[in-house]
């Protein structure tokens, strides 16, 4: 049933650090690899080696530029996957009951045995988080690796989404955003984590940590370096004095 749970017990989700993501696409392809072999139908690639390839990915990394007056332009890598919204419009629009949000952890999933591939959920999602697989006709989306995070067949430390496990720059964090004491919640509080498109009213669980303030060296300069001397001769004098002042310079190297 596509009614949203009034309140999920947990709010499992991702925190993505835009200050740290270098845009390597590690999360993109490790997601593709895991989810091709696991949950539901494989993520297909149409015309894989042809003129017009088109495949299903559940996570993609964009690159944006931000321009502000009197500052160099900034580049921001921007990974995007399902945000597991609390008020997920993709769930309520689903006519078949395939789309649902789990009460126990808030993960939004597609029950592939019900999906008829109408695409309305993808239309309802403002984030482009759902992609209809062209080969299976099933709507695919991030499962938050629901088949990893509880999986007793893999070591406990690996029970995180594939994208989080693989991220080389530690730009992706996984946890319970419903628990204010969780590491992810603290990170969000500390770094001023934000929602994407808050005006859409979806209440995303995933949060984004904005880039830290950059290129401040000129506006907040360090203490300037002062010359030790204006004259070359004076510079040698400084060198003499500085060397004398070093420990062990009076033949006492051994007893310092």
């Amino acid at each position: 049933m596509t009614q949203l749970p009034a309140q999920s017990k947990k709010k499992l989700g991702l925190v993505i650090d835009l200050d740290t993501c270098v845009g390597c696409h590690g999360c993109v392809t490790s997601c593709k690899g895991w989810n091709t072999q696991n949950y539901g139908e494989p993520l297909s690639d149409i015309d894989a080696y042809g003129a017009d390839p088109s495949g299903t990915f559940l996570n993609r990394v964009f690159s944006y530029e931000v321009e502000a007056p009197n500052k160099p332009a900034q580049t921001v890598h921007f990974p995007k996957s399902c945000l597991h919204c609390e008020d997920a419009p993709c769930v309520t629009v689903c006519p078949t009951g395939a789309s649902y949000k789990r009460e126990e952890d808030g993960i939004v999933l597609v029950n592939e045995d019900r999906c008829m591939g109408c695409g309305l959920c993808a239309w309802a999602c403002p984030y482009g988080a759902r992609e209809l697989d062209f080969m299976s006709g099933i709507m695919k989306k991030c499962t938050l690796c629901v088949d990893r995070i509880y999986n007793e067949n893999i070591p406990e430390e690996d029970r995180v989404p594939a994208c989080v496990r693989t991220c080389p720059s530690n730009a992706r964090h996984f946890g319970d955003l419903g628990d204010p004491d969780s590491d992810v919640s603290k990170l969000v509080a500390e770094r001023g984590g934000i929602d994407l498109m808050p005006e859409q009213g979806t209440k995303p669980v995933n949060k984004y940590l904005p880039p830290r303030l950059k290129d401040t060296l000129d506006s907040a300069p360090p203490k300037p370096l002062e010359s030790v001397s204006e004259e070359p001769k004076g510079w040698l004098g400084w060198l003499d004095r500085a060397l004398e002042a070093l420990p062990g310079s009076n033949g006492k190297a051994e007893d310092k």
């Binding site: 392809t29 690639d45 629901v146 190297a253």
Partner: protein, 941 residues
């Protein structure tokens, strides 16, 4: 209807039948990977958490390895060319026939004139093995791809401090407070840098990116220094000016651990002018701070007085440090003087210098860790300067790259941040000064092995490789006066020199994993012509070409014989301490690849093919006394070969019982032990030996114990590089080995023993008003060093490339979305799609390299976007500079090392109207020897 809470999903499905741990090869990082197997097939690849390189993480390439392994472009069997070169027409043959053909060409060469074989490998990681093979064959013409990659950085680092970045060392990621990245965008040391950046950020440290392009790592840099290409050296020398001016240099570090206190012969009449004053044992002299006496630099208890001088007659000989002060305090290097040329402001340079000094000296780290130095002095603390640097091809691939790399290494040393906590740290087997490296050899004799290793570090003109008449001994002219310190050879010159018969003609060109007919060469169209050119008799000018590759790359079509390699999951490899190992600053480590699946095609690992071909040729070391093959395959070699008694390709589990590390006799079960341990071996460095490695007694002893050296080899850093001065002296007319006259001035100017900056050659050889724009390339992070275009996943991410234009050029040229531009250099012209990039130096354009593919290559559709829209900048770059006034053409290389000066390129840009149907030039298709890939892919096992 089922309520959602009732939907049963299996949250604990079995993941795989088995995990096989091996080493990634999607680039040269060599991360550990867990290969998940189901029903004997590879299903999923993730990082190995125990592995020292990547500690579990994996990048976009590594995580796509499966599609590389399954690529339809994999070659399937040995091939013999049947059509004309370049047509792509081949006949499948057996391995026996392939070896017969190869031996039919190679055996007579070896018998008569071994140098007529040119053997060059590209991005492979078995250079200690391939060089050993080439040495046994006896040809002097061997190198890998370092010459067109980053030899300036490597050589600059070795000559200055016994190591550079990447495999040589790494920042102290856990402690550094400021990480400064020069000229590295997406590439090199990829996962360790990403992990390091994550750590620095998590620890609240700052990242400074010096790069004309703000992408990749520079996107996350807290301070972006959008420098103009080719001016990094000038910028660094200006920072050095600021540090000297303000006295913000680590004097104690400099007097103890560098040649700052060495006295330099300043007698203008002396044939030794500019060399160090030495004692009778040949040891450089310093003035002891305490006694004022001139003593050998390594005398226990003596500390060099940097401010001292020594008089002989009327001549005053000063220290290196004073010569540096004299040079760098000059107004020539003041921020005001250089800022505009660097595309920066004086304020920015001053602020950066101040910030570097603040972090180094005010955020000093003190570790309570006693250690003993090489002179026996005990220290109770380790003092750290928490600023660390990393640089790569961006500053290296210029004709002033060697001196720029030198300047950067000197900057780190002046700040006292090398081999200290928070700074830059070496990884075993480095540090290793130039003296500890071999000298280059080229003594070829019919039927004999070469007289020594091909590549090395010359310490003076006497180590250059030329005949009596000055003719270079090597086909690439490495170690000749044109580029004396070409420590990695000059792969980019091989084909053009072989074609021109300069310095001599060759018979067989043998290449591995180097796409020389496409993106791995300058001047692509012309190189294609050289490979297919015929002489007056109708024979190919380069008579025979053997090529080994795992995939149907563009170069395959230009070879006469193809030896098909395996994918990285089907092969044995060793990432050896003898080569480019995977060590960490606190550990020695090496690793293997092993066939986690057997190939389903008639292919063999290239190294195995080389072993078998070597045995067929009867090469020394590859056959037993009775002439039978000594090693069945590469795995056999890895386990049983000994380079020196007890030292072999792998350091772990040596000895017949497998209980020895580093040194020990071969162990027949060594590979099994590696496999059991996840594919790698690691030997930790004792805590007291983890810093100050070049001068740390405990480190030196440990290095001897595990077989890195045979005796302790402490040394000091070379702020002043004497071998460079020796080359200059020769150019000034001293000594017997003299450069040709036309090179004298250039050698005098560019081989300065202290870092200098000069204009990149292209800036002085072409009209900079006509060609006002710098053009650069870089590889995308998800394709760096890999062959990503055939990868069904990665090609969807980047299947075509744009030339990125800065706002200023975009607007002044009236460019719009979807436009094409004509890009013209002094050498050629291309027409390509453009896009806007605001975070870009305003004099610079750039593109992703090697996205463009030849039609018919890589098993892609001929209409693939890679082949229709994708393009190469290589067409614009010549291996020679345009003719000068005197008609001479200089190599488009660094004059010191011969590194290809890719990034000197200057162009002009104009809107292409009307826009072409495809990017230009559009070369005709080649016939695919492997057909085309499947239409759709959805593989779940």
């Amino acid at each position: 209807m089922t309520r959602p809470e009732k939907i049963q999903i299996n949250t604990s499905p079995p993941v795989s039948d088995e995990i096989r741990k091996t080493t990634c090869y999607m680039c040269a990082c060599r991360c550990g990977i867990n290969v998940h197997m189901k029903g004997g097939e590879v299903v999923y690849i993730e990082g190995n958490r125990d592995h020292p390189v990547n500690k579990g993480v994996l990048c976009g390439k590594g995580s796509s390895g499966l599609m590389q392994h399954l690529a339809p472009s994999r070659l399937r069997a040995p091939l013999k060319r049947v059509g004309p070169r370049g047509a792509g027409e081949f006949e499948k043959i057996s391995w026996d026939e392939a070896y017969d053909i190869a031996a039919g060409w190679l055996a007579p060469i070896r018998e008569k004139d071994p140098k007529r074989l040119a053997f060059f490998t590209g991005r492979d990681q078995s250079q200690s093995f391939t060089s050993w093979w080439a040495q046994a064959f006896g040809t002097p013409n061997y190198a890998a791809h370092g010459g067109f990659c980053s030899v300036n950085m490597a050589a600059g680092g070795i000559y200055t401090m016994g190591g550079a970045f990447w495999e040589f060392g790494q920042p102290d990621w856990d402690r550094t407070r400021m990480f400064v990245l020069f000229g590295v965008a997406e590439d090199h040391d990829s996962n360790p840098i990403k992990m390091g950046i994550g750590k620095v950020k998590a620890n609240g440290g700052k990242i400074v990116g010096v790069n004309p392009i703000r992408s990749g790592y520079n996107a996350v840099a807290d301070e972006w220094v959008g420098i103009t290409p080719g001016t990094d050296g000038l910028f660094i020398l200006s920072l050095i000016h600021e540090l000297f001016r303000s006295g913000k240099v680590d004097l104690d570090y400099l007097r103890r651990y560098t040649n700052a206190g060495f006295l330099v012969d300043e007698d203008p009449q002396s044939p030794q002018q500019g060399l160090f004053l030495r004692d009778k044992d040949g040891k450089p002299l310093v003035i002891d701070q305490a006694t004022g006496k001139a003593v050998a630099f390594d005398k226990p208890g003596a500390l060099a007085n940097l401010a001292a001088s020594k008089k002989t007659g009327k001549i005053t000989h000063r220290t290196v440090f004073q010569l540096m002060a004299e040079r760098y305090l000059s107004d020539e290097y003041a921020p005001e003087a250089v800022a505009e040329r660097c595309g920066l402001t004086p304020t920015r340079i001053r602020n950066l210098a101040a910030e570097f000094a603040r972090v180094a000296f005010e955020e000093e780290i003190v570790l309570d860790r006693p250690w003993t130095d090489w002179k026996g002095e005990k220290h109770d603390k380790m003092i750290g300067r928490p600023i660390s640097f990393h640089a790569m091809r961006g500053i290296s691939a210029h004709s002033n790259g060697f001196q720029t790399a030198r300047a950067l290494h000197v900057l780190q040393i002046l700040l006292g941040s090398v081999e200290v906590p928070g700074g830059f740290r070496f990884k075993p087997p480095y540090p290793k000064p130039p003296e500890a490296h071999p000298k280059p050899h080229a003594g070829a004799q019919p039927g004999k092995p070469l007289d020594g290793p091909h590549l090395g570090y010359p310490l003076g003109p006497e180590h250059l490789l030329m005949d009596e008449d000055g003719t270079p001994k090597r086909i690439d002219k490495a170690f000749s006066w044109e580029n004396p310190l070409s420590a990695h050879g000059l792969m980019h010159m091989v084909i053009s020199n072989a074609h021109a018969g300069d310095p001599y003609k060759i018979d067989t060109l043998f290449m591995y994993m180097a796409n020389m007919a496409w993106n791995s060469t300058m001047n692509t169209s012309e190189v294609i012509r050289m490979l297919t050119d015929k002489d007056e008799n109708g024979d190919y000018v380069i008579p025979h070409i053997i090529y080994s590759d795992a995939y149907s790359s563009e170069t395959v079509a230009y070879a006469d014989l193809i030896l098909p390699d395996t994918t990285y999951l089907e092969r044995h490899d060793c990432i050896s301490l003898l080569d480019r190992p995977i060590c960490e600053a606190e550990a020695a480590a090496d690793s293997i690849r092993w066939p986690v699946v057997e190939p389903d095609r008639d292919v063999r690992g290239f190294q195995t093919a080389l072993i078998q071909l070597g045995a067929k040729l009867g090469l020394p070391g590859m056959v037993n006394e009775d002439g039978t093959a000594k090693y069945a395959d590469y795995a056999d070699y890895i386990q049983n070969h000994e380079r020196r008694p007890g030292v072999g390709p792998l350091a772990g589990w040596r000895g017949t019982d497998g209980d020895k590390s580093g040194r020990g006799e071969p162990n027949p079960n060594q590979l099994e032990k590696y496999i059991e341990n996840g594919g790698f071996w690691i030997g930790h460095i004792p805590e007291e030996a983890q810093f100050y490695k070049p001068w740390n007694k405990a480190y030196q002893d440990w290095a001897v114990e595990i077989g890195l050296f045979d005796a302790p080899a402490p040394y000091v850093f070379n702020l002043y590089v004497e071998p460079l001065r020796k080359m200059q002296l020769a150019a000034e007319g001293q000594g017997d080995i003299q450069p040709p006259d036309h090179l004298r001035e250039r050698i005098k100017r560019t081989m300065d023993p202290l870092p200098i900056w000069y204009e990149p050659f292209e800036d002085t050889n072409v009209d900079v008003n006509e060609f006002p724009v710098h053009a650069l390339t870089q590889r995308p992070m998800h394709m760096y060093h890999s062959w990503g275009t055939q990868n069904a996943w990665l090609r969807q991410i980047t299947g075509k490339n744009y030339l990125y234009l800065p706002t200023k050029i975009w607007e002044s040229g009236g460019f719009k979305e979807g436009d094409y531009a004509r890009v013209t250099s002094a050498h050629g012209s291309i027409v390509v799609p453009v896009a806007l990039h605001a975070a870009l130096n305003e004099h610079t354009v750039w593109t992703w390299n090697a996205i463009g593919k030849r039609k018919g290559a890589w098993a892609l559709d001929e209409d693939a976007p890679e082949a229709t829209e994708g393009f190469l900048l290589n067409h614009l770059i010549h291996e020679l500079q345009p003719p000068k006034g005197d008609g001479m053409r200089w190599a488009n290389s660094d004059p010191v090392t011969g590194q290809a000066a890719w990034f000197d390129l200057r162009v002009k840009i104009e809107k292409a109207d009307p826009k072409p149907a495809e990017s230009q030039p559009s070369l005709p298709p080649i016939k695919s020897p492997v057909g085309k890939g499947p239409k759709n892919v959805a593989r779940k096992i």
